[in-house]
């Protein structure tokens, strides 16, 4: 699926540019994006290196296990496949907590580490059920405080920059619940298809 989307975006873009007379823009976009991708990876690398180091300490100090213990009943329902006391649970919870507080920078390293643990659990290059669930939670975003948006609103002299917080939380809750339900639906559909 990703192969199709990837090729589709580029192919349609190039063909459209041929008729639209925007080939120069396309050319420019290709090379400026290469730079941008390197820059993003570099800044991501800094964050990854720092947080994975810190989280390793948290793991050794028993903090992640503690976090996993507190939320075990809740997380067990969402991720029934992960064995109890598995380190993946601690990373998933850190990822969710960081997301909730709008710490996207801290959330990504923890999410990636969780994915790595999940991959070791499944031992295959196919996305496992837990991986899809973790992804669904992350794509629907759990933000409680949309810091970036508030900053933009302040910059343009909003009367009440935080007025949208309530609405954002509500929308986030709805999209996260929808993500979990849609994820479940596809999981059961897969299972049925396997049995038949």
């Amino acid at each position: 699926m990703v192969n199709l989307i990837w090729a589709f975006l580029a192919v349609t873009g190039i063909i459209y540019a041929a008729f639209n007379g925007t080939m120069a823009e396309v050319n420019k976009a290709i090379f400026s994006t290469l730079d941008e991708a390197i820059m993003i990876t570099l800044s991501l690398a800094g964050v990854l290196i720092f947080w994975l180091g810190l989280m390793k300490i948290a793991e050794e100090a028993g903090l992640l296990a503690g976090l996993a213990k507190i939320f075990r009943p809740f997380v067990k329902r969402i991720f029934p496949e992960i064995p109890e006391n598995h380190p993946a649970l601690g990373y998933i919870l850190s990822n969710m907590t960081a997301n909730m507080f709008g710490l996207g920078n801290a959330a990504t390293p923890m999410g990636l580490k969780a994915m790595k643990e999940l991959k070791e659990l499944s031992g295959s290059d196919k996305a496992s059920r837990s991986m899809i669930t973790l992804l669904a939670i992350n794509t629907s975003s759990l933000t409680l405080i949309p810091t970036t948006v508030i900053a933009i609103r302040m910059k343009y002299d909003s009367q009440d920059p935080t007025s949208i917080v309530g609405a954002t939380i509500l929308a986030t809750i709805i999209s996260t619940i929808a993500a979990l339900l849609i994820d479940r639906y596809f999981h059961y559909k897969r299972e049925r298809a396997m049995r038949l």
């Binding site: 991501l44 390293p109 849609i182």
Partner: protein, 171 residues
Amino acid sequence: MISIWLIPSIILLVLVTATIKKVPSYEVFVEGSKEGIQIAISLLPFLLGMMVSIAVFQASGAMGAIVKLFEPLMSLFGAPAEILPLAFIRPISGTAALSMTTELIRTFGPDSFIGQLASVMQGSTDTTLYIITVYFGAVGIKRMGDALKVGLLADLVGIIASIIIVIILFS
């Protein structure tokens, strides 16, 4: 803001707990950090490839054309057409969505209906394509199963939900 205190507090909590429990914190830090380098490097091809494809699609004007195509459908639901490009680009490109949100807030004002709607849309969902690329790319997942379908459908629900909520709360 609480968020200014949050990260330093986490660092403090981790380091104090580790020291009390006699974990060799600096050595463990370095050991864990190395994994970060590895993940970042293995991520690069996935991210770079996807970003170029999206950039070509956008720069050619094809993105804008598709958005135009869907405009009538949007006004059918009582949502302003100005918000449509953002709704479309939000799951695809985070930086593009952020600049669009900024532009909408700047043009229509942060407290206008469109400004509020753009704020909620920007804040309540995340960039699905980027997250899939990064999360699966970093650990080398080649067959992603239903992940993309789940992510995009959830985005759709989130966008519809933000429109309804903002209409109820602010207009």
